[in-house]
Point group: C3
Amino acid sequence: MESEEHIIGSRTWPHPEVVEDLAQLRQIAPLTHCITNIVVTNFTANVLLAVGASPAMVVTIEEVAEFVRIALALLINVGTITTIDAEIMLKAAATAQETNTPWVLDPVAVGALKFRTDIVAELIRYHPTVIRGNASEILELSGFKGGGKGVDATESSLSALPAALQLAERTGAVVALSGKVDYVTDGKEIITIPGGHEIMTRITGTGCSLGALIAAFLPVTKTPLRAAIAASVLFATAGERAFMEAYGTGSFSMLFLDQLSTIGIR
Amino acid sequence: MESEEHIIGSRTWPHPEVVEDLAQLRQIAPLTHCITNIVVTNFTANVLLAVGASPAMVVTIEEVAEFVRIALALLINVGTITTIDAEIMLKAAATAQETNTPWVLDPVAVGALKFRTDIVAELIRYHPTVIRGNASEILELSGFKGGGKGVDATESSLSALPAALQLAERTGAVVALSGKVDYVTDGKEIITIPGGHEIMTRITGTGCSLGALIAAFLPVTKTPLRAAIAASVLFATAGERAFMEAYGTGSFSMLFLDQLSTIGIR
Amino acid sequence: MESEEHIIGSRTWPHPEVVEDLAQLRQIAPLTHCITNIVVTNFTANVLLAVGASPAMVVTIEEVAEFVRIALALLINVGTITTIDAEIMLKAAATAQETNTPWVLDPVAVGALKFRTDIVAELIRYHPTVIRGNASEILELSGFKGGGKGVDATESSLSALPAALQLAERTGAVVALSGKVDYVTDGKEIITIPGGHEIMTRITGTGCSLGALIAAFLPVTKTPLRAAIAASVLFATAGERAFMEAYGTGSFSMLFLDQLSTIGIR
């Protein structure tokens, strides 16, 4: 592997580029079109609002292309995909490609279920700017055997790093690989992002809202790689800080939003 | 403008009429039928329960008319409207008109997207008791140019006050205009409701759940105007108090529900 | 009534069998397939994750049977059932019967609305392992007159205990009857579970997520009765403890998740 490696995590906060990108996001408040799963809509919207973006969920076939043209970025997350959602997602992705709207694909549980696996394969043809997933999902997409049993990673993120590199090279997308340690790569550079805390897997929506936050950063940062880095570093840092004051998963969830809404301010 | 103007905000709490209406709501616990968007269902239900109403989301074509007949009030919020939702909303509104069930229309992002704009125009023909929206939405509905980019107001609420008056006069609905300062009008009286805090726009669902709370007050108060006032004053007061103890947006959300559930009690 | 009666509540915590079952659940982290209503998806997922289960919402006709075969347990909650949901739920229930996957039926507002009442009658033919409901719902299902006005119990749970026994005998399901006091019965034993707090009815999703937690315990405990007991005792205990530190409904919700995620650990 000849790719360059860097480490940017919670320990290196405040990282100058992330601070700059965050300031930009807060100034622009990018309208971020989220087509996501029914479990995490509320949390995702609150994460984007906390950081400073402007989320909007527009999810009907009559409006989806029109709204992709208005929004600055798009997230497609297949977590609870339905028959009609598939059509909507394909139309959104096609429109994003046509209008050069940057977009994130979150292929939740790809490989575990046939229907979504087929739709994700179609979605990828519309050139997502970023693909975010856990080890099982990235392994599956890269053609390695995934073995995911659903939404949870059954593989460590490091073990999927070669798959992430290959997927980035093949698709031209930045790949954001989530796990105990996060990795972000454009197929050339690899950024290792330690931090966060295991408790983040004990509340629903941290992975899904990370995908949304990457989308929100895309119209703001100089490169898609920086968008994935900025969102991942904010999550690692906010997660680590929130854990220190949390009693259990309920207070962690609240404190995580508190941290995201005040990071770099307080 | 010959309309009378009054100011009732968080500073004048406890306002005798609002206290009376709140006590009534807590006694009756009005069954409030919410057809709302997928981002805010949970928060909306928790807001209504916190104050003392009884929310229920019934959202299928086979049940919607039957449930409008059972419920004491109805909310229709088009935030994440779909093809089938449109049919359900129209049936609910038609039934509400037929049964004299008071109802609130929340025309989220009307004007920004064609499909919902057309449906909202049809819904208004069923005579909503109250229309709640931000400046962009009220400007759009009144025929003034809106220019909304989505869910967020791009205009100040004061600038939309003439539009609100005109909309109230033309439709016979009370108009609740949300913004930094809230205004409520029946086309004759104008009530100015200062208070709340800008942080309320940094969590999702405050506007949408205000619409739901207005609906919950409708079967309880002597006039629709009082329902809109009561809900708006409670939100302004609870929002202002919650902000004083909040660290960020996560704790604000929690404290806001705490305030709504204890206001006038603790 | 010749059934045996036992009392296991928050006062008897730590109850040895519940502690044992909880340890098992945390070790196995059972993949629990939830087909539930749009108001409580997020809270339900967070409750399951807090306790230690692995929730997944898979809700499209193309995937539902496939996922029932992967998951260890299934929840079907008809709270916001739609036309297409009905088909999905019936397919899921049929598959669960075929694969001997244990499943919980939560017949929200059965009897109050015709469509769901018919679907619930069909669902019951696929032999749910556990039926969880409030007094109105259990009365309705057992053939007694329910009189439910929606999601809220209008009857005390004790008054529905004979109905619960009869329903358990007739269907072979364990019946979990929720109310101020919870009762669990397999038609022979009756377990009385006091505890919890009235504030649990002031946040949305406590009943619905109890049904989900019972489902999560089913592949773990020796009998379905023990699954219903374990989940109910955890809820009663966590609810009582959370209330002691709560200021209002917002902080209660957070503290309840905190308690569920730390019970038996801290």
